[in-house]
């Protein structure tokens, strides 16, 4: 039977799903004896949330400013004992992110005569790495970030629905 919705194995959706399911398997294996105490469930919720962001960021890799920023943040979480984002490796990454984003367009962050500085600043808080981006990059990155968020939601919803019966 012809399946018109043949899935592209290299698509973002596919890469994310594979990684995320793998992460869920690990999280499930990590848990102690079947304890459904609120603390345990909360811990698992945190881990799943991190896994979702991690899976997406790794699926996008370093092709985007926002994914680089998210990867830096995630890596600094695991090096919690050292100073977050000032250790050798993550500090270099942070500089690299900022260098890359400011090189691509020399537009200053605050655009004079542009009537939406406040809204843009608000957007900067929502998009990973937004604070380092100039306006042009911010708008570009936002579009991609939203596309990835919707994919993330779509897949997570499908998994939750699938295993809810």
């Amino acid at each position: 039977m012809n399946n018109p919705h043949r899935l592209n194995p290299t698509s973002l959706k596919s890469r994310f799903t594979t990684r995320f399911l793998r992460a869920l398997t690990k999280i499930r294996a990590q848990k102690p004896i079947s304890s459904s105490s609120p603390t345990e469930i909360f811990r698992r919720y945190r881990r799943i949330k991190v896994a979702a962001d991690k899976s997406m960021a790794y699926s996008v890799r370093s092709r985007r400013i926002w994914s680089r920023a998210m990867l830096c943040k995630l890596r600094s979480r695991s090096y919690r004992r050292q100073d977050p984002c000032s250790g050798r490796r993550s500090g270099k990454t942070n500089q690299a992110i900022m260098k890359k984003s400011s090189n691509e367009n020399t537009t200053t962050r605050r655009e004079d005569g542009v009537g939406f500085v406040e809204e843009a600043d608000e957007l900067r808080q929502l998009v990973p790495g937004g604070e380092t981006m100039n306006l042009c990059n911010l708008l570009d990155e936002t579009a991609h970030y939203i596309k990835c968020l919707t994919t993330q939601v779509q897949v997570m919803k499908k998994i939750a629905d699938f295993y809810s019966f």
């Binding site: 799903t17 608000e122 939203i146 897949v155």
Partner: protein
């Protein structure tokens, strides 16, 4: 005004800016261009921010749901088949 990309000058062109804002507008079903025509950039960005927050909250909620039903998930025998089934439903 030149229409070439102003990679060397300090300001991005209005056209580029409008193009980027327009692209964001197309991501918002509630600001569908056929019904609303031109919408102010501020409004587009406003809606975009709400949209992102909504999506991030959905991820939050779904993470919670998954943490509840993680136990009942039969993830053994996980392979490409499961992935394909899931995404083709």
């Amino acid at each position: 005004m030149s229409s070439q990309r102003s990679t060397s000058s300090n300001k991005i062109t209005d056209d580029e800016l409008n193009g980027l804002i327009l692209r964001l507008q197309t991501l918002l079903p509630q600001l569908d261009q056929s019904r609303h025509g031109r919408v102010s950039a501020a409004k587009v960005l406003n809606e975009i921010c709400s949209y992102i927050r909504r999506l991030q909250n959905e991820v939050d909620g779904l993470s919670g749901r998954l943490s509840q039903c993680l136990d009942s998930m039969d993830l053994t025998g996980f392979d490409a088949e499961i992935v394909r089934d899931l995404l083709q439903q």
